[in-house]
């Protein structure tokens, strides 16, 4: 085993492999920072190039690309409130809020350092426990996934700011959006009004871009011209002050890394869900939960580490059992087959160095993130120097390109614009947008796993508590609900109701 680790080290620390990783990393940074272009797309574009490579550089290239792309999604999120990837959406209000306060440097620096730490943690844990964890992950059936997704929904209660009722309405709106399209259970179209395009459902990326970025552009266009809230700022050394932040939130950092790694390893739950759950947990246990969503570093640290920590996890069931944890690893399995290596337990026995090489690549990729991320932030940071009158139309243009690119259809642009207007009206009326996004992310997962479980159990609801893991998850979720309800009731009595406030309404 030690010799396999040693072989893996020599394979990865080869000048050619390291160069490939650096180039692939730069590519991932570029793609991830473009709204609408996802880490999955970056990987798919990489596949023809990997045809000509040995297995280790091919895998290392994919690892470097995805790690960078997930981080890079934070950059446009922090600067102009367009999360580059769904995984960045959880904390975009905080990172953008920091920029509005003139602290873009802090937001981006925290994104880099927490991503690096989370990523390194995930890589180390997986390197030592991969086969055991893969076995556990394989025990998850629809019952367990249902509870996991339901627990994710609970997060809405924590992440929404202002009135709980408005947060709930927003969540239900998101869940409604998720029901549009062909129902995968019965194969029947729902709410499509005869439109072929709507049969495919509302794509998440255009919806997300619309609800965050377009609504922001609208708010700027309608708001008073002279009260420009954006503070002129230079993005210089983003690592300034990071040591203090990391020391202050070391507990959250550890928590985010652990949750991210654990969720990442389950096939079907990935970086997105890891980021949302961590953010909610972070807020719940924070000493200053009222600051969340307004430009507070804490959630950024926790969730930023979680989404990078989760990346490595998805590779474990993919390599050990050939079951892809997400769409990226589905492509990886294809690449492995192309190289004549069938994923499966034989990989562990015949080519253990390959598995180690993947985790070492994650380690190296996360270290590479420090210099490459720094350069990328310096480059993109100039966006803040552009006058608003020029930047805002450019953002709208970028949004359109991104919404178009996801499915190569104008329909995506339409979805983006419609949801952008809806989100604008919602925020102006005090409805937080984040729960709606969460509803769109989790809606189909909840519905599908619930229906699957019901078919399997012939409609017996108690089946959700018959399997051990499922029972534990179910009880935890129900306890959390009871707790939230109880807390709300208790809080309501003595105090005056607080005036509802939109999550992004500026403090001043």
């Amino acid at each position: 085993m030690d010799s396999a680790v040693w072989t893996a080290l020599t394979l990865v620390f080869d000048p050619y492999v390291l160069t490939v990783m650096a180039v692939a990393g730069a590519f991932g940074l570029f793609v991830g920072a473009m709204p609408g272009l996802t880490a999955t797309l970056a990987t798919a574009l990489l596949v023809p190039v990997t045809f000509f490579m040995e297995p280790v550089p091919a895998l290392a290239a994919i690892v470097a690309t995805t790690a960078m792309a997930i981080f890079a999604g934070d950059i446009p999120g922090a600067l102009v409130r367009i999360p580059g990837t769904p995984a960045s959406a959880a904390y975009v209000d905080d990172s953008y809020g920091l920029t509005r306060k003139g602290k873009a440097e802090v937001a981006l620096g925290t994104s880099i350092t927490s991503a690096v730490i989370g990523g390194l943690f995930g890589a180390v844990v997986l390197a030592f426990t991969a086969p055991v964890l893969a076995e556990v992950a394989l025990g998850f059936s629809s019952f367990e996934y249902f509870w996991l997704a339901t627990f994710g929904l609970t997060c809405a209660a924590f992440i929404s700011t202002g009135s709980p009722v408005k947060g709930m309405v927003s969540l239900l709106f998101g869940l409604f959006i998720a029901t549009i399209g062909i129902d995968i259970m019965a194969g029947q179209p729902r709410f499509v009004f005869g439109s072929t395009e709507l049969m495919g459902g509302v794509s998440f990326i255009p919806a997300m871009i619309g609800m965050f970025a377009v609504s922001e552009v609208l708010r700027w266009a309608i708001g008073p011209r002279n009260a420009d809230l954006h503070v002129r700022q230079k993005v210089g050394n983003v690592f300034r002050g990071q040591a203090a932040i990391l020391r202050r939130y070391k507990l959250g950092l550890a928590r985010g890394s652990v949750i991210g790694t654990a969720i990442g390893i389950l096939p079907g739950a990935g970086a997105d869900i890891a980021a949302w759950i961590t953010y909610a947990v972070s807020k719940r246990f924070s000493r200053e939960p009222e600051k969340f969503g307004t430009g507070h570093v804490e959630g950024l640290v926790d969730a930023g580490s979680a989404n990078n920590a989760s990346l490595g996890g998805a590779w474990v069931p993919a390599l050990v059992f050939g079951i892809p944890g997400d769409s990226i690893t589905a492509i990886v399995i294809g690449v492995l087959y192309m190289k004549g290596m069938n994923p499966g337990p034989m990989v562990m026995i015949n080519e253990p160095q390959l598995l180690y090489a993947v985790f070492i690549s994650f380690f190296v990729a996360n270290l590479l993130l420090l210099p490459l991320g720094y350069l990328a932030v310096r480059f993109y940071g100039r966006m803040l120097d552009v006058p608003r009158e020029i930047l805002m139309p450019l953002i709208l243009l970028l949004c359109m390109v991104g919404a178009f690119a996801i499915n190569n259809t104008l329909f995506g642009v339409g979805i983006m614009l419609v949801l952008g207007v809806i989100a604008f009206v919602m925020e102006e009326s005090g409805f937080p947008v984040a729960p709606a996004i969460l509803g769109i992310v989790l809606g189909s997962m909840i519905e599908q796993n619930f229906m699957q479980s019901m078919i399997k159990a012939d409609g017996d609801l108690l089946a959700f508590f018959e399997r051990p893991i499922s029972a534990v998850l179910g009880v935890l979720t129900l306890l959390t609900w009871a707790f939230v309800l109880f807390e709300n009731l208790r809080r309501r009595k003595p105090r005056e109701p607080v005036a509802p406030r939109a999550s992004t309404t500026p403090e001043e």
Binding site: T40, S141, S142, G181, T196, G200, G322, I323, Q452, I455
Partner: protein, 327 residues
């Protein structure tokens, strides 16, 4: 005089235009600009993988870029519509999959195979019959006996969406065995991989996806394959008998993929693309790729492919009517 001159001038202009036009057409032989290859399923899946390798091999030969575009959603309706509704100029073609013979029966679209110009069928993957390694049945016959003996609904199956190809394969097998097609209820999933995961996790009893899709779990000792629903055994899995060998039931069904363009592709285009696809199909690169991924290789040119789609459409319609899935 003036009129005559004018006429001559006009004639000369026309002549120049015609000659120029001809010369232009001769120079600009198909293809002169990038070709779009539409894949109606998502990045990372089998259709995407085969579409991308075909695209890159076509690109190398044609000398123009072949852009693979995923148009996903709506159980394949969106992508298949995009191929059929494109301009029939040879610059938009796509991968048409078995679902073209299912979607219209389900009432999702009016599209059928008649809306396409078939070019080549390159892949067919027969359904298998996978159960957990520790399942009490060691042959397909024992499994069928158990299904017949125990009450309906005792065993559940998964591996694709409601009315998806593997669902129809299982239902058709039960029908051919003289049982109700819904005696093993279907648990819809988003594909073979989640279905297999559920099989291992103990959620369902059987997953009738193609055998190569279950390969890594078979090697892991988690899953075993009892039969394959085709005329012959898969050379990669010589120990897995055909359904007919195992049970005497003559039932065959599989997923397939082919390249097609919108209806009415000009001859110039088909005469260029069909020989090219045949050449690619015979190349070592393509063969290695297909074998390594475990995709079944078949070849049918335009006429055979058209006939194949007609037969596939009828077979699928029959099962779907039996299941009450046709509208």
């Amino acid at each position: 005089m003036i009129r005559r001159h004018a006429f001559a001038l006009l004639a000369a202009t026309a002549a120049v235009a015609i000659v120029g036009g001809l010369a232009g057409a001769a120079k600009a032989a198909y293809p002169e600009r990038p070709i779009t290859l539409i894949v109606p399923w998502g990045a990372g899946g089998g259709t995407d993988a085969t579409g991308r390798i075909l695209g890159s091999l076509m690109e190398a030969d044609l000398g123009v870029p072949v852009n693979v575009v995923n148009r996903t959603g709506g159980s394949g309706v969106v992508g298949h519509s995009a191929i059929a509704e494109a301009e029939p100029d040879g610059y938009t073609i796509g991968v048409v999959t078995v679902e073209i013979g299912m979607m219209h029966w389900a009432g999702l679209t009016d599209l059928t195979h008649e809306d396409y110009t078939p070019l080549a069928l390159y892949n067919e993957d027969p359904a298998g019959l996978q159960v957990r390694e520790d399942a009490p049945w060691s042959t397909a016959q024992e499994f069928l006996d158990a299904v017949a003996a125990d009450p309906a609904g005792t065993y559940k199956a998964s591996g694709t969406g409601q009315g998806g190809i593997w669902h129809l394969a299982l239902a058709g097998m039960l029908q051919a065995a003289g049982m109700e097609p819904d005696r093993v209820p279907w648990v819809p999933s988003q594909g073979a991989a989640p279905g297999l995961q559920d099989l291992v996790a103990g959620g369902v009893a059987v997953v009738p996806c193609s055998v190569p899709e279950a390969q890594s779990l078979m090697e892991a000792g988690k899953v075993k394959s009892l039969a394959v629903m085709s005329a012959e055994r898969n050379p990669t899995f010589p120990d897995v008998p055909t359904l007919k060998e195992a049970t005497g039931i003559d039932w065959k069904l599989g997923a397939w993929r082919g390249i097609a363009g919108p209806k009415g592709l000009p001859d110039e285009v088909t005469q260029k693309l069909v020989p090219l696809l045949e050449k690619i199909h015979g190349s070592d690169e393509f063969r290695d790729f297909m074998n390594q991924r475990g995709f079944g290789m078949v070849w049918k040119g335009p006429d055979d492919y058209r006939q194949f789609m007609v037969e596939s459409d009828e077979a699928l319609g029959g099962v779907m009517k039996g299941l009450g899935l046709a509208q």
